[in-house]
């Protein structure tokens, strides 16, 4: 049923009259400032949207919140019962340093934790590996053993605060440290809530942190799906991430399309690994960017929910409504932060975060204003958390569910972004799936092209960035932020801790655990997760566990595109 059809003819007539009598005389007196208006993604936007733009939209496509197709949100009361989880991404230096930051954020009203690891950890190297030199504790916290993980979460009630870990190629190993650490504290795994990012596909596409090639890496992912389906009912086994795809330069439509197509790939691999879709789909979660273009971002989140519902019901025949409901975390766009006049970033972050909230995010991170310069200081992290609290408490946007639902513009943008995503799905399906598309460099090339076109638009002055290509200032009259410095002693102390661990543990037991892991990895029917937990219990290090699988799984070499 089309609610708008009856009125459309008269609206068309009225619009023609408006154009003749009102618009044209104004355009003559005051021409518009640009020939074409576009979003941050360079998508053209019309002067005005009217009911005619929704002539083909059924009311059912918009629907009610908490009901399929979930365009208006997965919860019938929106944020009226409970606002989103305020989950600031944090991590630097040693496990001790980051544990202090976690406690500081919780003391100031943060409601969930999110862990940023350093690059050696993200790449599966021990802190004392030659490749780790200069990188330990720099862009996150260094974690190389179960002991480090115990220090990281010391004193934090893991059965009460949900914990997110941004880790991908060595996700299973870090998860094993986490589970072994919880076990030693006597916390039952089934009581723990949280999220493992565990999204390897977007690594090949965008973030570029990998160890093994895509296919064996997908086996590690499906092993975690199986393990969580059996043992961790409150844990999100994956956070399927568009954030990094967008940061790498994609458009909003590409972020939406590649992320959801990655989601489809994970579901297909899970089913192929012998799982029933409803055994693991309810614990799939998503992670999107919150970029500058306000309405395009809101439309992106709304489209994502509607597409996922259709994918899960039509493509996969999922029966459990929880499998149909897309839950997502959002983070403001790091790439949009400027080094120039950095205090301005507070405003950017606030507006981006507002878009995520109007789009119905379940969980949110706001960037620190100093993050184009370094990891955030305590002050910058606190302002970012306060930004979320201001949106929740002061703006009134939480009073009603999906406040922009029914906006001609937002509904039309939602429809268009959805259509662009389906078009990409068709292309990727034709290539044989996302793993094959990655082999062919398809999403990588699409993203690079968009990044280049955006840079050209900025340099031609078609896109303005305040403080960068317009409104410039000499020096920094808005104030120079203090920068978080990571002490070089972190690397030395962390290496010493690891060497002590290797000297004091039962080395024969550690070797037996590694041998068992290797035997299990060779047999595709064996789940690697319990074997990795045994390695963590035996105090094997991250590097040892990752290295053990290299001869079996191989190592990924990025083709040049």
């Amino acid at each position: 049923m089309n609610v708008l059809n009856e009125a459309n003819n008269t609206i068309e007539e009225q619009q023609q009259q408006w154009e003749e009598n009102t618009l044209q005389p104004t355009l003559k007196k005051l021409p518009e400032s640009q020939k074409e208006f576009t979003t941050t993604s360079l998508k053209p936007i019309e002067r005005l949207y009217t009911p005619r733009d929704l002539a083909d939209t059924k009311f059912e496509d918009i629907g009610f919140p908490g009901q399929p197709p979930y365009t208006r949100g997965i919860h019938p009361t929106g944020y009226r019962a409970k606002v989103w989880t305020m989950r600031q991404f944090a991590g630097f230096g040693s496990a001790f340093d980051t544990n202090q930051r976690f406690k500081y954020l919780l003391e100031h009203g943060q409601t969930g934790l999110s862990t940023a690891f350093d690059l050696p950890t993200l790449m599966g190297y021990d802190s004392d590996h030659p490749m780790s030199e200069g990188e330990v504790g720099k862009c996150g916290v260094a974690i190389a053993s179960r002991q480090d993980m115990e220090v990281l979460f010391d004193g934090i009630p893991l059965d009460q605060v949900t914990t997110s870990m941004t880790i991908n190629c060595p996700a299973s190993m870090i998860f094993a440290f986490f589970l072994a650490a919880a076990e030693r504290r006597g916390i039952a795994w089934q009581t723990i809530g949280g999220t493992l990012q565990n999204d390897i596909l977007k690594e090949y596409i965008a973030q570029k942190e990998w160890i093994y090639p895509p296919r064996p890496s997908m086996r590690l992912v499906t092993d975690t799906f199986k393990f969580c389906a059996e043992q961790m009912p409150k844990w999100n086994s994956i956070s399927i991430s568009g954030y990094h795809i967008r940061e790498a330069g994609s458009t909003a439509a590409q972020e939406l399309a590649f992320t959801l197509r990655d989601g489809i790939e994970y579901v297909e691999y899970g089913i192929r690994a012998g799982l029933d879709v409803d055994d693991f789909a309810p614990r799939l979660s998503f992670f999107f960017n919150a970029h500058n273009d306000f309405f395009e971002e809101i439309a992106k989140y709304r489209a994502a929910r509607r597409i996922w519902h259709r994918v899960m019901t039509e493509r996969f025949g999922a029966k459990n409504p929880r499998s149909w409901q897309m839950r997502f975390h959002a983070q403001t766009a790091g790439v949009s932060l400027t080094v120039q006049q950095p205090i301005n970033n507070i405003s950017r972050v606030a507006i981006q975060a507002l878009a995520a909230v109007l789009g119905g995010a379940q969980s949110l991170h706001c960037d620190g204003y100093d993050e184009a310069l370094a990891l955030p200081t305590e002050r910058a992290a606190l302002i970012a958390l306060r930004t979320q609290q201001i949106i929740a408490a002061e703006t009134g946007v939480t009073n009603t569910v999906d406040p922009l639902g029914g906006s001609y513009f937002v509904e039309k943008l939602t429809n268009e972004l959805e259509e662009e995503a389906w078009e990409y799905f068709r292309k990727i399906d034709a290539l044989g799936g996302m793993v094959e598309a990655i082999d062919a460099g398809f999403p990588q090339k699409e993203i690079h092209e968009s990044a280049y076109q955006y840079q050209r638009a900025v340099e031609r002055g078609e896109k303005t960035i305040v403080g960068v290509n317009d409104y410039l200032m000499e020096g920094n009259e808005l104030g120079e932020p203090n920068i978080l410095q990571i002490d070089e002693t972190v690397e030395r102390l962390q290496s010493e801790r690891l060497q002590k661990l290797r000297a004091e543990r039962d080395n024969a037991a550690a070797q037996r655990a590694i041998d068992a892991l290797q035997r299990g990895a060779e047999d595709a029917s064996v789940n690697t997760m319990p074997l990795l937990i045994d390695c963590a219990r035996a105090d094997c290090t991250l590097g040892e566990m990752c290295d053990a699988l290299r001869p079996i799984f191989g190592e990924y070499q990025e083709p040049s595109f």
Binding site: L119, A248, V339, Q340, A372, A374, H448, Y452, N469, I483
Partner: protein
């Protein structure tokens, strides 16, 4: 006879995988008529300097966003000196605090570009500072 193209090596040292910037710059330098060799990710300083020697480049550009620049940039500069690449210009870019820039320049990095730098600035810098080949 056409002037020979300026030969540039762009490299991603360290563990950092952020390659949006370096790839945009590679394409912009090519569009400006330069010969660009991009090393790909996770190059050690030794690998980068070897590539610079083998490819006989006039410029080496390093991109790093992980915070490891104070360890890695000076090492590349040092190795370049050891290998006699005195006439090769070294520049860098990435997330680099202001206070580190003079220290890097002291150690042989001729220019540091921060986020927001335009590809045009980088092209002009190269054209103005490249040492001509006989």
């Amino acid at each position: 006879m056409a002037e020979p193209k300026i030969r540039v090596l762009l490299a991603k040292p360290g563990l950092d995988g952020h390659d949006r910037g370096v790839k945009v710059i590679a394409r912009a330098l090519r569009d400006a008529g330069m010969e660009v060799i991009y090393t790909g990710l996770r190059q050690t300083p030794e690998m980068i300097v070897n590539a610079a020697v083998q490819e006989d480049v006039q410029i080496v550009g390093l991109s790093i966003l992980s915070g490891a620049h104070m360890t890695i940039f000076p090492r590349v500069a040092e190795l370049m000196k050891e290998r006699g690449l005195d006439d090769v210009l070294l520049f860098g870019g990435g997330i680099i605090p202001d206070d580190d820039i003079p220290k890097l320049k002291e150690k042989g990095v001729s220019e540091v570009f921060l986020p927001g730098a335009s590809t045009e600035d980088i092209i002009q810098f190269i054209q103005a500072n490249v040492k001509a080949r006989e």
